[in-house]
């Protein structure tokens, strides 16, 4: 037996995402955001997308290109404070935004990736995030049901990939990537380096290859990763 090769041209991988798709996008702030895959999705122009991502990046960066291009109908997220365009569009009613507690978004995505139907939690029970969610008692204590999230496609940024799709991540660029890489019908990973089989140690793989459909090698690193000089 040998493991199959999943390397793929970026155009072909992204072309498999249809109009109206739900798309998970890795990243927390800049690290781990698949900027190159996002750029190709902007170029191809699929519309009416539901995006699931921790944040809305910053103006002029990452999924803000999709929002600015009118491709995003709905955003499932935890925090959009660094993107004034997204806040403006939300307040104007031009972008539907569903807010989640950050760790609950992570668990809902993971639950989708684990083939579970839902998780039960007490997080946010006393907040407006609980509105409309089914209540249930566990051990005599109140809790609520948070349904699992799955997507039609996931866009993942990996540090390294082997040709079978085993992935690793570096530093805080890991964040939502390994969770989303389990939770989608079509998983597309861009990687800063694509290695031959056997070059990632089996004990150090963060996302096992069976979860990944397409591996896209990056020929250059997006300039959007550059260290930002913010005011203190």
């Amino acid at each position: 037996m040998r493991l199959p090769d999943k390397t793929c041209a970026i155009e072909d991988a992204i072309a498999r995402i249809p109009e109206g798709a739900t798309v998970m996008v890795g990243g927390f702030g800049v690290p781990g955001t698949p900027f190159t895959l996002i750029r190709e999705l902007v170029r191809q122009g699929q519309r009416n997308l539901t995006i699931i991502k921790n944040d809305a990046n910053e103006k002029g960066m990452g999924i803000d290109h999709l929002i600015a291009n009118g491709q995003v109908a709905r955003l499932i997220t935890t925090h959009i404070g660094l993107n004034p365009r997204a806040i403006e569009m939300l307040n104007a009613g031009h972008l539907a935004v569903e807010f989640n507690a950050q760790g609950i978004l992570a668990e809902r995505v993971r639950a989708g990736g684990a083939g579970l139907k839902a998780i039960v939690t007490d997080i946010g029970l006393d907040t407006e995030l609980a509105h409309g969610k089914p209540r249930i008692e566990i051990g005599g204590q109140p809790a609520m049901v948070e349904t699992a999230l799955r997507a039609d496609a996931a866009l993942i940024h990996a540090h390294r990939a082997d040709v079978f799709g085993n992935l690793d991540y570096v530093a805080t660029a890991r964040n939502f990537n390994p969770l989303m890489a389990m939770a989608s019908d079509l998983v597309i990973a861009e990687a800063e380096a694509v290695m031959p089989l056997g070059d990632l140690a089996a004990d150090e793989v963060h996302t096992p290859g069976p979860f990944v459909d397409h591996v896209v090698g990056l020929t250059e690193i997006s300039e959007e990763y550059q260290v930002v000089r913010r005011q203190a």
């Binding site: 493991l3 199959p4 090769d5 990632l200 089996a202 793989v205 290859g209």
Partner: protein
């Protein structure tokens, strides 16, 4: 039968081979066949089974056999391992059976009062693999049919089995019940019908032999 079952594995599949007969299927795959074998104790990319003198004490399959890795193998914990199974990333599993019903129900984990070691990972494999193939003798040691109208034993999962390979035949589970697809060499349709505990839909024309 095992050689025939091996031909069910298509290039690119992720496959889990259950303990017993299914494990032997791997011996019938070409060395360069593109497939990923999964074991539920936490490995994708199982390599050949090793003799004790070459074994790694930390590297077994779910049946306890000492296995090896291939280039591109990955280790993971038990939660990730079953995440892979339940979320639809397992293309095929081959399992043993005590009983298979014509509805595709499978019983392979418990004989009440006699043998109750627990289901292990069997329920999830049966319920969630995209395709479930059973490898079994056509009848039990007493000669009673294992393919039946309904399972008498506690079931593992309902309506999960797609195809059954036995020493006598290849039989599909269809909306019409058991459907004969192939006969083992030298076995007659009458013998299969006789050994099957439910109606058997016969094909139009000749039945191929394996």
């Amino acid at each position: 039968m095992v050689a025939r079952a091996a031909r069910e594995i298509a290039p690119g599949m992720v496959v889990n081979l259950g303990i017993g007969l299914p494990t032997k299927v791997v011996d019938h795959l070409a060395a360069d066949f593109p497939v990923c074998l999964h074991t539920e104790n936490g490995l994708s990319g199982i390599g050949p089974t090793l003799p004790p003198e070459a074994a790694n004490r930390n590297l077994i399959d779910a049946g306890g056999a000492y296995v090896s890795t291939v280039p591109g193998s990955a280790f993971f914990d038990s939660a990730v391992s079953f995440a892979l199974v339940r979320s639809g990333r397992l293309d095929l599993t081959m399992l043993g059976a005590f009983e298979v019903a014509e509805t595709g129900d499978l019983a392979n984990w418990k004989i009440p009062g006699k043998f109750s070691p627990g289901a292990g990972g069997g329920i999830e494999l049966a319920q969630k693999a995209r395709r479930v193939i059973v490898l079994t003798t056509h009848t039990d040691r007493a000669g009673n049919p294992k393919l039946k109208a309904a399972c008498a034993l506690p079931i593992t999962a309902r309506a999960c089995v797609n195809r059954v390979f036995t020493d006598l035949a290849v039989i599909d589970i269809t909306p019409q019940g058991f459907a004969l697809r192939e006969l083992a060499e030298g076995v007659s349709i009458a013998e299969v019908t006789e050994a099957t505990g439910a109606a058997l839909v016969l094909p139009d024309g000749d039945v191929p032999t394996f």
